[in-house]
Symmetry: C2
């Protein structure tokens, strides 16, 4: 068992994003999927892109929008956003406070 | 893309647990891993057990302990607990408020 606070993990920038910090929490841990903690400041966003792997995103704090093939939908604390592989997607912070999300991807 | 609040998902009890509610958030979604939202009331706990699959657990609210092979360690908001397959484990709520965690397992 390994316990780590997200605050102990170094934050990185992500290509194509704006006002976004990402922390890879379990690079040494999981054999099946990566858990990333992402903070997006007000008016910031993740890259608008698609890729073969799926995302499972849980909203920890704040609110914003999730853009998918059918347009943008509001997201807020307690929402799970399931994005299948190959679907275009982008998360934006449309609120005033920091949007914090947990984003899981298969390894 | 599919968005669902954990509050829209029916809570279930889990065998061997006490004062615990579990919600399977993405039964229809992910092909690779399940995301479960778990609430444990004060003095409640998850089953003390082991199994072949790993856990990745993120603490959303509250605090408690995570028991592993090396004994119990404190856990609080923002911690990621990585439990490899076959390691015995148990989560307890040792605080006063509800302990809320997100627990991911491979499918």
């Amino acid at each position: 068992m390994r316990i780590i606070s997200y605050k102990e993990v170094e934050a990185e920038e992500a290509e194509g994003s704006c006002k976004l910090k990402i922390r890879w929490l379990n690079n040494e841990g999981s054999r099946n999927f990566a858990v990333r903690h992402i903070e997006i400041e007000s008016n910031g966003y993740s890259p608008c892109h698609s890729h073969p792997w799926e995302h499972e995103i849980f909203v920890l704090e704040g609110n914003g929008t999730a853009l998918g093939e059918k347009g943008a939908e509001s997201i807020s604390v307690g929402d799970l956003i399931s994005i299948p592989g190959e679907e275009i997607h982008q998360i934006k912070n449309t609120g005033r406070s920091t949007l914090k999300i947990l984003c899981m991807i298969p390894k």
